[in-house]
Amino acid sequence: MTIRLATSETQEAVREAGRASQGPYSGQSVPRVEDSRLIRGQGQYVDDFTTSNVAYAEIVRSPLPHARIRGVDTSAAAALPGVLGVFTGHDIVIELHALLPVIAAGVPNRRQTPPQYPIAIDEAVYEGEPVAVVVADTRYGAADAAELVAVDYEPLPAVHDLDAAIVEGSGVTHADAADNIGWDVALPGEGDVDAAFAGAAVTVTQRIVQQRVCAASIECRSVLADYRDRLTVWNSSQMPHFNRMYVAEGLGLPESKVRFISPDVGGAFGSKMGPYAEDYLIPIASKLVGRPVKWTETRSENLSSTSHGRGQVFDIEAAAAADGTLLAMKIKQLVDIGAYFGRTGANPIVSVQLSGGCYRWPIIEARSIGVLTNKMWTGPYRGAGRPEATHLVERVMDLLAHELHMDPVEIRRRNFITRFPHVNNFGFTYDSGGYHGALDRALDAIDYTGFRQRQADLRARGRFLGIGVGCYVEISGFGPSWQTAADDHEIGLTESAVVRMHPSGAVSVFAGTHSHGQGHATSFAQIAADALGVALADVDVVEGDTSNTPFGHGTYGSRSTPVGGMAVYTACQRIIEKGTAIAAHLLHTSIDDVSFKGGIFTDAATGERRSIKDVTLASYNRGLPDGIEQGMEATAFFDPPNFTWPFGTHICEVEVDTHTGVTKILRYVAVDDCGNIINPMLVEGQIHGGVLQGVAQALLEEVQYSEEDGQRLGGTFLDYLVPTINEMVPTEVYHTVTPTPTNSLGVKGVGEAGTIASSVAVINAICDALEPLGVRHVEMPASPQRLWHLIHDGMPAALR
């Protein structure tokens, strides 16, 4: 057996696009500079750090989804040799100055946001909620002592089913609450939706479920806190500045006295946005025992107590004319919030706001209900709202095509948005696009026409192949402050950089973003090296330490390159501006006569030149022109005018074994347009990983709960099925290149693109394969068991 792995097409796409690069590095697959330490085992993740006299914490967690805590007996644990302290909710709350934050942006009309302490006090509302913190002088000692903490729980009924939870008079997630409604928001469309449905040739109705999944980064979360005259926290996080801001508030400390360090972080995918309960508990524990304290999550804790992704249910009605023209859609969304809002922010509503996909819809009418449940909270997971939106609309397109007896590609073509900028049904402005081009490229790559012939031939021989198309447009580059701050009490999602040229001419880039696999040490260095005309090897990128980087929001929402990269670029431009003034002085000419290119300042009149290295050295010296301070560094905050809107088409070819229900992916073509590309190799890597995460949601992954009592089932990698190399998808990666007008680099971001259309490409392909057997819709994960039942339950016994 040889698995066919496609050769790299991304570099070719960059060449074809013919975008004049700003220098020798952008657009090139520059090898990663961060690899050197990581492949030698010299990476430094939080648990790798230690400090003298470090103690270890273990967290006692509620095993029940909902319970009253009648008492916590810590005496046996406290008596164990080596135990430094055992703290319950009552001990912790004394130290607490503020609760965990609720990020309000995008969640209008909140009905209730239950106050969240970092630890349960009298009531535990989700399985895995901290109930006590044990600190001991060894890891094993802390674990042993935690076993001895005796908690007296009175089990309470758990809210777990969304439909049941919104019925008036149903049980409640929080004992003192009136109901489980977190929000209930109408997003009315413009126009008469009922009239549109009345005049339709076809309508479809469907429930679509986005099951809960776990991000399951291979590094679990970890916190090392050292509380003395200052608080230093090593924290496995995507957003150290953001966490510092809230944890400082929580502990009643000035932000300036708190330092957060997020060093190497072993994957995140949205799940390491914070702050989490432990980000408060471990610093408090350090304060209380007077020693540095380290806590590292186990995988079991990670699956129970790190935010889950997705967890949304949609009831859809859609209408189309006989020629396939889309007329209207009605959406009712139920969002499984979990027991607390977590840091969900806007992402659940994005699922509705982008539900129109790449298409012109005269009217979309929606209602979103956020439902509190006795479960871990849901939060952003790679794609965060866009996979949900794309899965929804791309399933609807196939369902409508099926009703119209139309090819699923044809109905997409007839309804694509073709003019940009385009204002969608919910007021978002798509910056640029070429949806036909991406679709055509994908159809050509997978030989769509040829496939239909093969499919027909094989069906005649009892084999069930299917093809599934997923077209997407996503929102990235979070985000313009005018659209991302809910009110004056929140801050918009700008991003920051300090670029410092040292006297030698070497460059340090300090960025407010955070890299946990994305490769910023390489891609940001490419941007800076090109902008300043210096060698890549002379640029060093520093992220993750609040003591030396400017305030930034961190890395999520495919924002690092379009927002953070632009901050780096803008800071470089400021350096060149200052350099131009100094160069003019050195060249005895006027600023207007000096041009800058490739690291050289040139006097247009004389042709005389000064390198940026010479100018930088001079900038630290005496004899500068009046009004110019010494030094060569600049700070920039970039506030984008709009989001960016990457798009693409993914097509998947599957074969379903109707005897076993097993789905095999035969081919997978991804065409992604993320605007200009800084590093094709990194972009391909993001697509590979993203596609497999989406495919895994389609086929494998699900956080399961008992239908009877809401108890979570399973909880290790034995039963939570993250894909192994055996489930690898040999993705063929292609690109079209449509730069965004939103920023000078023309970049849109790519971190989540792979995940967005992949789950629906797989599910559409499975539905296509099983269409002759009467299967119209398949929920995720499309496990062998689920497919077997769909295939066989409706089948006459004789044929089973």
Binding site: A215, T298, V729
Partner: protein, 144 residues
């Protein structure tokens, strides 16, 4: 005490990582007398008198082991957390099977989980390392 905790907490050799509780993820893979083992599945005392090789000991000086080089060349790592375990597994696999088929590779590497790369470039890297190793062997034989 588990071998992985002995390596990390007692010896301060933190290149070997921990990613699960149930010996699924393979982030802790090291060599025991030259064979890949998950260091979370054996006690430190079981390694007494045996030779343990971790990622820190794979390369000599600045020169990378061919598997490390291949992971870099093929962009087979992103966050880097699973990487030491993956490299130790893959390098051990090639010692046992110098000319592996893709079946050999899938079977031999199914005990290591990567959440970032989608495995595509990992497969490319291990194939490449196998190719380099077999070329080197050919060169060595030619020299003889």
């Amino acid at each position: 005490m588990l071998l992985v905790h002995f390596l990390r907490d007692q010896l301060g050799m933190t290149g070997t990582h921990i990613g699960c509780d149930t010996s699924q993820c393979g982030a802790c893979t090291v060599w025991l007398d030259g064979d890949a083992v998950k260091s979370c599945t054996i006690f430190a005392v079981q390694a007494d008198g045996h030779k343990v090789t971790t990622i820190e000991g794979l390369s000599t000086g600045q020169k990378l082991h061919p598997m490390q080089q291949a992971f870099h060349d093929e962009h087979a790592l992103q966050c880097g957390y699973c990487t030491p375990g993956f490299i130790m597994s893959a390098a051990s696999l090639l010692k046992r099977i110098p000319h592996p088929t893709d079946e050999d590779l899938l079977h031999g590497l199914e005990g290591n989980i990567c959440r970032c790369t989608g495995y595509v470039n990992i497969l490319k890297a291990v194939r490449r390392a196998a190719e380099i190793a077999s070329n080197e062997t050919r060169d060595d034989e030619a020299e003889k």
